[in-house]
């Protein structure tokens, strides 16, 4: 598809890892595959690589199209491409589907070669640290010793933060967007309601629904509907949907009446058709567990970030209440406490948490300006 500034048609690749991976949970995966995409060209000294970490429902398809007539591009196509804020004319950009995902990387819906059946409930719980470890192995495979930058929003931003702690010398810049140093009780609560919707769906079958030829659609739909409510701001929802009725009048029944109901059900259906229930459980659990201070003896984020060496750009969005600006400021404070280079912007945006995926002039100008400096460094 010849769209302006699009990377065009891209083809996913698969990397297979045969060396066993011991996960934070203690479980071991004897082997695994990661599906990924790359855009742009790796330079001669392998110094212009950018890793993009995805959020809860994201995947490796970050930019471009899979086929000539695809309707929708990758999930961050407005940010990444030739001439875009993360410019593929300068950078070699990597998108990877996280371990446990459902878009090609080894996950609960993959076939377990030992049984010939999908892993299902037997797939181990993975954490942000496990993802960082697998991403580092992929980087090794691709010959990338140090990333020019690692970028991510929401759960993706948490991976970036973890990278800066676990592999301080393997990234020059960290772009942590709409993230938090760990979830609040309220956030965990939302995730658990979503999980309960899936776990209590009769079609879930304890995670082994594949054998029954069913999908816990009801659970997935409700989980996604709940998620969407929390990703939007009250104002944005009010402005977009208000109390608008589809038929213009009350029907005194329980069918779809308000536009917001229609929107949420549509989003829920779309998600239930395309996303694996076990992956959803696993991703939300990774979110809940994320806490880089957890294993640290002093338990403070400042102490934990003492190891970090990269430079940071931290961005939050004014109406994001799921990962509020105050949470980003906690990260900024911990970076300042360690005398690390950091810039922080709070973008005035109406769209709540979802704003990190939207095209906003100030947001995109900032990322562009920052990445232009990064590009100048690697070109030098």
């Amino acid at each position: 598809m010849s769209k302006p500034n699009s990377i065009g048609v891209v083809t996913p690749q698969t990397a297979r890892f045969e060396s066993p991976l011991t996960l934070k949970s203690g479980a071991t995966l004897p082997f695994y595959e990661l599906v990924y995409e790359t855009y742009g060209t790796l330079n001669a000294d392998n110094s212009n690589a950018i890793l993009v970490c995805h959020a809860l429902s994201g995947n490796h398809h970050v930019a471009g199209y899979h086929a000539e007539h695809d309707k929708r591009p990758g999930w961050w196509d407005n940010m990444i491409g030739p001439g875009k804020p993360i410019d593929t004319e300068h950078f070699f950009v990597i998108g990877v589907n996280n371990l446990g995902g459902c878009h090609g990387s080894t996950g609960p819906s993959s076939i377990n070669p030992q049984t010939g059946k999908p892993f299902g409930a037997s797939f181990p719980v993975v954490t942000v640290e496990d993802w960082v470890e697998t991403q580092a192995r992929l980087a090794d495979r691709l010959g990338i010793r140090q990333f020019a930058a690692i970028v991510g929003g929401s759960l993706g931003g948490m991976q970036v933060l973890q990278w800066s702690i676990n592999h301080p010398d393997r990234l020059r810049h960290a772009l942590v967007i709409a993230a938090a140093p760990r979830l609040t009780a309220q956030n965990i609560a939302f995730n658990d309601v979503a999980r309960q919707a899936i776990l209590t769906d009769p079609d879930f079958h304890g995670g082994d629904f594949y054998a029954h030829g069913v999908v816990p659609r009801r659970g997935l739909r409700i989980a996604r509907m709940l998620g969407h409510i929390t990703y939007l701001s009250d104002d944005a929802m009010g402005e977009k949907f208000g109390r608008i009725l589809r038929s213009g009048a009350y029907n005194f029944g329980y069918e779809v009446e308000f536009e917001i109901e229609s929107y949420l059900r549509y989003q829920g259906d779309k998600f239930a058709d395309s996303f694996d229930a076990n992956t959803y459980l696993l991703m939300t659990k990774a979110l809940d567990y994320f806490d880089p201070t957890h294993h640290h003896q002093h338990g403070s984020l400042s102490e934990t970030l003492r190891a970090a060496r990269s430079r940071f750009l931290v961005i939050s969005f004014s109406t994001d209440w799921r990962f509020s600006p105050a949470r980003s400021r906690e990260i900024v404070k911990a970076l300042l406490d360690n005398n690390l280079d950091v810039s922080y912007a709070e973008i005035t945006a109406a769209h709540g948490h979802d704003a990190f995926l939207m095209e906003d002039p100030q947001y995109h100008y900032l990322v562009r300006a920052y990445m232009e400096r990064v590009a100048a460094e690697v070109a030098a």
Binding site: V332, K333, L336, D337, N339, V342, S343, Y344, Q362, L366
Partner: protein, 198 residues
């Protein structure tokens, strides 16, 4: 002074006070001109703080550290004594809570540097005598569109410090590029102070 860019003379005064390699916080850093100058000329490790989107962008374009924050909301994101110098250049007069801001500067910084336009400058006095609010290169606004809500004179600021146990370590009063010794509160258009907790 660099060859093409005009460095404001009060910037040179501020820079002369900043020891090489210092950790500095520039409050109301604007487009980052001063911070960039301190970084280049004094190898300062600095952070700017500003509220405006355009200024955040300008600082990032210059490769500076900048934190988007409302100064009137305090400096709770910064630890006590975590900076060698906290600088407030040409911003004091636009702040709402001056006492709180100065107290916060002296909490977060070992020393603070404050520079502001001197309302007592003779040209300002003449305009007031003529019956108008002063407008000058340092106060380029009309009364109805000025962001400056807390203008003060050299004497006012020194009285303020005396009342609050703030020690003035150094003072430079200037008019353009000239340093003013005699009658600073009349002849100086801009004043810069280096202060600390007494």
């Amino acid at each position: 002074m660099t060859n093409t860019t005009t460095v404001r003379h009060d910037f040179e005064t501020i820079a002369s006070w900043v020891k090489p390699g210092s950790r500095v916080l520039d409050l109301g850093c604007g487009d980052g001109t001063l911070l960039k100058y301190l970084k280049d000329s004094r190898q300062a490790h600095g952070y700017g703080v500003d509220i405006k989107d355009a200024n955040i962008l300008a600082c990032v374009q210059k490769g500076l550290n900048v934190i988007q924050n409302d100064l009137d909301a305090g400096l709770s994101g910064f630890e006590a004594d975590s900076f060698d110098f906290v600088i407030l250049s040409q911003t004091l007069q636009a702040m709402r809570h001056i006492e709180q801001v100065v107290a916060e500067m002296l909490r977060v910084g070992k020393q603070a540097i404050v520079a502001f336009p001197n309302f007592g400058y003779w040209r300002h006095r003449v305009q007031v005598l003529q019956g108008y609010m002063p407008v000058s290169p340092r106060l380029p606004y009309q009364w109805y569109d000025t962001p400056n809500i807390h203008l003060c004179t050299v004497r006012d600021f020194e009285a303020f410090c005396a009342q609050r146990n703030i020690r003035i370590l150094e003072r430079v009063v200037m008019d353009g590029e000239r340093k003013i010794g005699l009658l600073p509160n009349i002849r100086g258009s801009v004043a810069a102070y280096r202060i600390e907790r007494a």
